[in-house]
Symmetry: C2
Subunit: 251 residues, 2 copies
């Protein structure tokens, strides 16, 4: 028996999110099916981030145990033959038997992309949120600074959360304009339900002048979802990076 | 009566190409339908480039005549309400009554994108051609130079062509690596059927070492489709720019 960690990239457009749901297309469900086809074993992968319906990822993590003789680093090639084109295992490795992807110290980075121009772009419609009109990136950058650090992010969390605590540490919130796109990159030790999308929706309100950068501390203070801006749509969001403080779990 | 020129962007994935075909989804068919919904007039747009099934565009051109009182520059906003999300009119203008988009001196630029890394990327799968293994961009650049200028491109043309002459002028062929993508940009006064895709397929053979840059003149000389490399898949191709020598036809 060995434990395998998969790094999984996907286009979330066609899926009801990461987490398995009976009878509906999910990333987890497709991975379980592909592993069964490859190894003959029924497994339920453990995911690192349960991304919402429509959210994309370059590098989500999935872990499972297998008796297969396939070497850890070869699983990516073998599994891709059994996966739909919009899900690819981009790396794989054997890990220690006690490794759990949600119980290890990590820095995760999400990127939210806003397409800010006069008219939409068909070839970017699935991966950016289209928003026309003036958006002031400098104001968004000023607001972003207030979100960095350890805070109670209750105002930036869907009331549907099941988290025991709403305190999280955000290491960095970067906002930059790249031609006609505004990219918001949020790096943290973990995120609450819808947290990055609410951060993006709130920063967009600041960029549009409906909130001031200086409003952010009071929004955090209220610990009330109603105080923050709207939840930005899922399709603009992508999980782009996972960093581990200690990689000794990779064999 | 006035003549309107539309600049049209589209994701070609779901379409059987630009040109109207009875009962099948085409860009032209969708534009005709949208114009009829908006103006009540039955029209058949005249397109500038009849792109193949699966090919994308940032700026193809379509022209039609209308009695509508909508100002030329407003058609883009009005038509988008009647078009599917993967087709957007990104600009519109009234043009002179005799303007024909295929009978005017233009420089067109196509871009072909190759994703060159170890494993595919789901979020770029619809807009890049995935090719793993070593590809030498310097060799491709050396080969590209031989394609520039006025040549008989019969070797780089599908035998299905209906063109009267296979002589075309290619102003520039650029090849560059941008991170894990190789981008081939071909600018010319007009292109034969499949020409850019055969150029991309042939340059890729050079990049892989199966052809030498110095083979290109002999391939051109043969005027035989069999002499060139394979036709690269449609989904890596995008029409990215239209330049007019004289813009006085825009009113």
């Amino acid at each position: 028996m060995k434990r395998i960690m998969l790094t999984v990239a996907y286009d979330g457009t066609a899926y009801c999110g990461w987490q398995y749901q009976e009878g509906r297309p999910t990333i987890e469900g497709e991975l379980n099916k592909a592993i069964e086809k490859l190894t003959g074993e029924r497994v339920e992968v453990i995911g690192a981030s349960r991304t919402d319906a429509g959210v994309h990822a370059l590098c989500n993590l999935a872990v499972f145990d297998t008796e297969s003789s396939i070497p850890g680093e070869k699983f990516c090639y073998a599994l891709n033959a059994h996966l739909p084109e919009d899900i690819r295992v981009v790396a794989s490795a054997e890990v220690t038997a006690d490794f759990h992807p949600r119980k290890v110290a990590t820095r995760k980075t999400y990127e939210y992309r806003i397409l800010n121009r006069d008219l939409p772009d068909p070839v970017r419609r699935l991966y950016t949120y289209f928003a026309y009109g003036p958006i002031d990136v400098t104001r968004m950058q000023e607001a972003a600074v207030y979100l960095e650090g350890e805070h109670d992010f209750a105002s930036f969390c869907s009331p549907a959360t099941q988290a025991l605590t709403t305190v999280r540490t955000v290491y960095k919130v970067e906002v930059e304009r790249v031609e006609d796109e505004i990219r918001i990159r949020v790096c943290g030790n973990g995120f609450l339900y819808n947290m990055v999308r609410i951060i993006a929706g709130t920063l967009l309100e600041v960029g549009r002048g409906r909130l001031a950068p200086e409003d952010i501390p009071a929004i955090l203070e209220k610990k009330d979802r109603q105080a923050a801006g709207p939840t930005a749509p899922a399709h603009g969001l992508m999980l782009i990076r996972y960093e581990f403080e200690d990689k000794s779990f990779i064999l």
